[in-house]
Amino acid sequence: MTAKTAVEKPATAEELVKLLHEAAEAGFAVRPVGGGRAMEMGDPPSREDIELRTTALDRVLEHSQADMVVSVEAGITLEALQLQLGKSGQFLPLDPFNSPGHTIGGLLATGWTGPLRQRFGSARDFLIGIRVALPDGRLATAGGRVVKNVSGYDLMKLHYGALGTLGVIVAASFKVFPKPLHDVTVESAQGSMDEAWGDVERALSMPMAPAAVELFSNGRVVARFLGSPDATKRMVSDLGWAKADAAFWKKHAKAAPSTWARIAAPRHQLRSILDKLGPDQDWWASPGIGLANWAVAGTSDDIRAVRAAAVAAGGSLVLLAGPADLRRDAGAWGTPPATLHLMRRLRSAFDPNSVINPGRFVV
């Protein structure tokens, strides 16, 4: 980041889109920033003249308890939103790492998730409407405020995980969920890695699947069951693991290695990749999803070797944080997908001069 970077903090979506448009007209590069929890995700931007912060856009626009739908501005933090929803016994099932402080817009743009994805899917699955500021000065809405909607293209999917490259997210609507009737955390007796992977498979094959299962490089396995009281009780007793403190999850959500790689693979191939990391490396995984987070202690060659294994399995390795030199050297994204030229066409349809996050995303 250069010292010349100007910081803008618009108070409304209209103000934001105006700033974005002016920047685009003047040929400035814009980095949208929410909570600043994923600043090092991706390749170091080739330019950043203006930092466009969304944090003043922090209102809950509408929460209908009966409809279980909420619309928010993009700069609201996940915690502030949960507080509001909690008053009605509802929540958004997102528990991203490097918490607290993520904004909703940031979570949508980065696609970051946490352990609860095992049960609820990612925000991709419960994002029902989106409003985006485009570099040409327009505000465009897609989707709506109802839980089922096939009116027009599902642009929510395109913006999710696009790091803002198709427009800066200014507002979003979600389907929300009732807080579970019962919430139990259990932990297996820690043993060898072989035993730990066995425990993971056993938890995942329970007739009522766990809402989360996390595996750590030291062989620790923690699982969470959500549901009706008798049902969760039976799962816990059938599994026979020790009850653990629910505070574990909040602590776990703070995890954020300074050099951090996300490994994704088809779920049954994740282990073969993690086995390659060697016993001296720290990582944790959501094996039921096919995701692992690696606290990289190694060189860009090490990263490339693990990435090659992930790619061979049909997956990927993406750098979520780390020194700029390392990210530049290893590449944050790896080999671009075969459909890159189609993605580029979409990007240039929305941001023809690569004003937003130039050089940072794969597209």
Binding site: E62, K148, N149, Y153, D154, L166, M343
Partner: protein
């Protein structure tokens, strides 16, 4: 307009002589889907492989001929209607289930595989495919993916897009691509996500990989009667408000119940103003607890004659009534126009009352059978095509109902798609800038404009909606 002989010859070379249909009599079969409006294709082409699909689209691209992918033709919004003529790309010869993998719990299928066939094939592995449109005995997975179809069990399990892991698609230049795949968090933009539900306007789908779910060990299905639709709607809100999300939560009004009972003898209470069909599934403890809670809420909200299916056969019968409801309505009038719209769940009483008023105004019987848990409405306008001038009345009534849906903060379609039927209404919910953003996606991927033209986007050359300008209400982007 008949295709030039040279083009027909190219198509025949691509798929074989017997798989190109161009005689007027035979083309007539492909004139419509399950919606109201029809149009004749210039040719129907039946490819058997991805490379044949690609070859057909290359011929179309070279000659600038529209291509309209078509599965079973059960769509309800005119998505498969060749409104600009051209080629109906009929995929029903591509109907192999290529793989069911019990370890990864996925299936790889060709687009012509019938929805229910997949669940039947997966049953031996104790797996099932969750999206279950009422037409599941006929509709295809390819059509489901193109329309992002739903079904009663989508309340808990989600719609088609939530179950598509990846697809093989052919774009307007004939190029073949895999989008998405088995691993999560793929690098780059989510092309698969935007192609599902794009109604054939961006690509033809040639393979679909879908997620299969484990068959729940226990299922409980309950039928409950209510004195009025209002009471039943309140009960729906109350169930959800208790934090219970059943697998399915369906409502039928008295018109529907009468027809269904006469046809199926499923034991539906014919004195009721409305009935709810509630299903919960999971492990035995869970269904027992949830069903007990559901019963309590329903009883506290004027529910009566609560009847829980005691056997799989009884459960099937209850569902036969629901899934066969549209057919049973033929007892009242020979034709129907099934509409589709979604309102915020709490607006159900208001929208149902508006639908009733509109039906009375146009002197048309309306039967409601729908996914109440999602606020997903299906007003079914009943009529007899032999009545003179009835069709414009039916269309106007449908439009007014949709308008009411939008005015209550709802969406034009929850699962049928926009297609031809609702494209003119898109400006009711989306501003010109919103539509422009969607148009950019269309132009970026369908570079020569041949993929299912005349759909989804409002067509200035087509009819102006009857109601446009009448109320002058500005509804667009109301939800912000």
């Amino acid at each position: 307009m008949p295709l030039p002989t040279s083009v027909l010859e190219e198509l025949r070379r691509a798929v074989g002589r017997e798989h190109v249909i161009n005689s007027t009599n035979d083309l007539r079969i492909f004139e419509r889907d399950a919606s109201i409006e029809g149009a004749m294709p210039d040719a129907v082409v039946l490819p058997a492989t991805t490379s044949e699909v690609s070859a057909v689209i290359k011929v179309a691209a070279k000659n600038r001929i529209p291509v309209v992918p078509r599965g079973a033709g059960t769509g309800l919004s005119g998505g498969a209607v060749t409104i600009r003529g051209g080629i109906a790309l009929q995929v029903t010869r591509m109907r192999k289930i290529l793989e069911i993998d019990p370890v990864t719990q996925t299936a790889l299928v060709e687009p012509g595989v019938v929805n229910q066939e997949l669940s039947l094939a997966a049953a031996s592995q104790k797996l099932f495919y969750a999206p279950d449109p009422s037409s599941q005995k006929a509709c295809t997975i390819g059509g489901n993916a193109a329309e992002n179809s739903g079904g009663p069990h989508c309340l808990y399990y989600g719609v088609t897009t939530d179950h598509v892991v990846g697809m093989e698609v052919v774009l307007a230049d004939g190029s073949v691509h895999w989008v998405s795949g088995d691993a999560p968090d793929r690098v780059g933009l989510d092309l698969c996500g935007v192609l599902v539900g794009s109604e054939g306007t961006l690509c033809a789908i040639t393979k679909i990989k879908v997620r299969l779910l484990r068959t729940p060990p226990s299922v409980a299905t309950l039928l409950a009667a209510f004195p009025t639709i209002d009471a039943a709607s309140q009960a729906v809100s109350a169930v959800i408000g208790q934090g219970i999300v059943p697998a399915a939560l369906e409502m039928m009004d008295s018109v529907t119940v009468g027809a269904v009972e006469a046809h199926y003898h499923a034991g539906y209470p014919t004195d009721a103003g409305a009935v709810l069909l509630v299903e919960v599934d999971g492990i035995a403890e869970s269904t027992r607890e949830l069903m007990a809670a559901v019963r309590k809420v329903l009883a506290a909200n004027q529910g009566y004659a609560l009847r829980e299916a005691q056997s799989p056969a009884e459960r099937d019968l209850l569902w036969a009534g629901r899934k066969g409801a549209i057919g049973a309505l033929g007892r009242i009038k020979p034709n129907y126009y099934l509409h589709d719209g979604v309102v915020p769940r709490s607006r159900l009483p208001q929208i149902l009352s508006a639908v009733g008023v509109i039906g009375v105004h146009y002197k048309l019987p309306v039967a409601n059978v729908f996914h109440a848990g999602d606020g997903h409405l299906h007003p079914n306008i009943l009529f007899d095509l032999r009545d003179r001038d009835v069709l414009p009345q039916v269309e106007s009534a449908g439009e007014e109902m949709l308008r009411a849906v939008v005015e209550l903060g709802g969406a034009l379609s929850g699962e049928h798609g926009i297609g031809l039927e609702k494209s003119a209404f898109m400006p009711w919910v989306y501003s010109p800038d919103d539509l422009d953003a969607m148009r950019r996606v269309k132009d970026a991927l369908d570079t020569n404009g041949i993929m299912n033209p005349g759909k989804v986007f409002p067509d200035p050359e087509r009819k102006v909606p009857h109601l446009a300008g009448r109320s002058g209400l500005a509804i667009e982007a109301k939800w912000w």
